[in-house]
Amino acid sequence: MSAIPFLAPPADSEAVVALREEFRAFLGVQLAGRSPRQRSDNWYGYDRAFSRAMGQAGYLGMTWPKAYGGHERTAFERAVVVEECLAAGAPVGAHWIADRQSGPSILKFGTDEQKDFFLPKIAGGLFSFGIGMSEPDSGSDLAATRTKAILDGDVYRVTGTKVWTSFAHEADYVILFCRTAGTAADRHKGTSQLLVDLKNTPGLTIKPIIDLAGQHHFNELHFEDAAVPANRLLGAEGQGWDQVMSELAFERSGPERFLSSIELLLQLLEVLKGRDSEAAQITIGRVTARLAVLRRLSRSVAVMLQEKQDAGLQAAIVKDVGALFEQGLPDIARELFDCEPDPRAASAYASVLANIVHNAPSWSLRGGTREILRGIIARGLGTR
C-alpha cells in the first residue's frame, strides 16, 4: 500500500465526451472576441454577462440538487466544464468562488432559507462571491483571526479588517471568517462564518489594494460596528474553523492550480511554429508530460472527493506541484523564444508573457502558501 494513495480516474464516459464537445462549442461562441492577453487573465477575468450565460446554459451549480437550481450532474462533468474554461481563458471570475466553494459550503452548512436564497442565484450566474479569510496579521496563520462578530439582538456587530479579497468591489457577498467568542489566543475555538452582503452592509467600507501590475483585483474590507443579520450565520457558532477547512478542500486541488499560465504555453506553441528546433521539441515534450500527469492527479483527487475520501494530503500535493509547474512556464518560454515582456504591447505574445510574469508570484501564495502546503504534506507523512 502506498503512503499516498491516489485513485485512478475513470475513463471518460460517453456523457462526459459529449459534454466536452458541447461545452467547447459554447465557449467558442462566448469567447470569440477575447484576445490572448485577456485570456491570459485566466480565472481573474471578470465578466458578469459571461457568468450569466454559463448559468443560463446550466454550467453552474452543476452537482447541486435541482431543488436549489442545480443540475445533479457528477463531479466529473463539473470538472470538464471547469478545466475547459481555464484552458480557453474564459472570464470566470464573477462566478468562480461562488461555484467552487461558497455555494458548496452553503449547501453543506446553510439553513434552508439560506440555501433557497443563495444557491439558485449562484447557479444562475447572478451572484458573485469573494473570500473573507485573510487579515493584516493573519495570513497563513488563519487561526489568529481577530475580526470580531458580537451577537446583539438580531444582528452581529462586526469589527475588523479582511485583506486580499478578490473582486470585493464587484461581488455581492463574502463568507466572512471571524471570531464570535474569545480572542486570537483561543485559536480555532470561538470562530464562525457569516454571509456578508458587500453592497448593503452599513459600517463596511471596501478599499482597493493595487497589485504590482497595477491591477485592481484585491481589496481591503473594513468593518466598523457593521451590522450583519443574525440569520446570516453560516452553520454553527464556534464551528468556523472546521467549516473553513472544509471550504479550503474545495479550493486546493482543482485544475486552476496548474493551468494559470496555460495561455502563455498556447501562445508559445504559436510563435514556435515552423521553427523546427530540437530544443523546442524536447522542452515542449517535457512540459506536456508534466501537464498531463498533473491533470491526472487532479482528476484523481476529484474521484476521492466524490467518494467522500479524505484527500487533504493529495490536494496539497497537487497544489504544490501544480504551482511550480505554472510558475515555471515563463522561464521555459524564455529559454525557447526571445521576447521582451511588454504589458501594453499589441503583440499577443509579449503582452501575455508580461501578464504571466507579473501574476506568477501569487500562485504559490493564494489558497495556502507553498510553505504551508509542504507543512501539511509533511504532517500527512507522519513527521510531526
Binding site: 498556447l266 517535457r286 509542504r374 504534506i377
Partner: protein, 329 residues
Amino acid sequence: MLADMLQRLFERSLDDRAQAAARDGQWLPELWAEIEEMGLPLALLSEDQGGFGLSPAETGEALRLLGQYAMPLPVAETMAANQLLAAAGLKLAAGPAGLARADSCTVDGGWIKGTVARVAWGANLDCLALAVGDTLYRIPRAGWAVVEAGTSANFHPRPTLTIDCAIEASAPLPWCPLAGGATVRAFQTAGALEAALQMTLEHTATRVQFGKPLQKNQVVQHELAKLAGELACATAAADLAAEALSRGDLLGVAAGTLRAREAATAGASIASQMHGAIGFTREHRLHLYTTALWAWRDEFGGQVMWAKLLGQAALDAGGDGFWPMVTKL
C-alpha cells in the same frame, strides 16, 4: 492477494546477499523458479491469453513492488515481453525474456541478422521479443551470441547481442517494445520512490543532530514533502502510461514515461541528500534504489527520444490543438 504473496517472497529472498550476487552478474535461479511458480511472468495477460485477468490496479501494484524491493532479475521485462508476444499471437517465453527494438537488423529469406544493444540479463534469457520495423520477431536463446558486456547503473548485466538465426516466428507488431518496457519501468520507478520515501522518513526520524531528529527541522520536512510530490507524480505517470499503452497511444506512454523519469531524478536526489553520507554507501540499502532509478530513467528509449516524440506532436497541434491533445493523453 498477489501483492501479499509477492511481498512475502521478496522479503524472504531479496536480502543483501542476493542483491550483491546480482550485482556481480550472478543469476538467482531459486528466486526465478519461485517467481515463475507464482505465475508473475503472465501477470499482464488476459484470461483469454492464458493469464489471470488481473485488474490494472493489481498489475500496477505488482510492478510497483518489483521497484519497491529493487528486484534485480528481469521480471518486469519478462512480463512486458509476454504481454507483447501474447498480443501478437506468438508463443510465450518459457523463462525470462527481454524486449527490444532494433531497426538496423536485416531480414532476408527467413533469416534475421543484426545487433541489439544493452539487453537486461541478455545471456540468461529464454527468448527475446524483437521489433524490426512493423514486425515482431520471437528470437530464441540459441539465436544470439553475447558480444559485449554492458552494465546498468545499478550493476546488472546489459550485454549487447548479435542475432544470427532462422526466423522462428513473427507477426505484425502490436506496439513498440520500447513503449511496453518504458511503461513497466515507470511502475518500477514509482515503487523505488515509495521505498526511498519510507527510508528517508525513517532515517530523518531516527537520526539525531543538534539534539533533535532531523525531521524536526522545517527545511527537512519540506524536502520530504517534495519527495512525496515526486512519488505521487511517478505513480500517476505510470498509470497514465499503462492506460495509454492499452489504447495503443504512444503519446500517452511518452507523457507517462517522461514524468516518471523526471520523478526518478528529483526523488533520488532528495532521498540521497536527506540521508547524508550514509546514503552514499553500500552499507545502507538506499543505494539499491538510487542506482536503480539512475539506470531505469534512461532505458527503453532515452529521455530525448520520448520528449521529441511528444514535443513534436504538441508543436504540430499548435495553440489551437494543444489542449484537445492533452485531454486525450
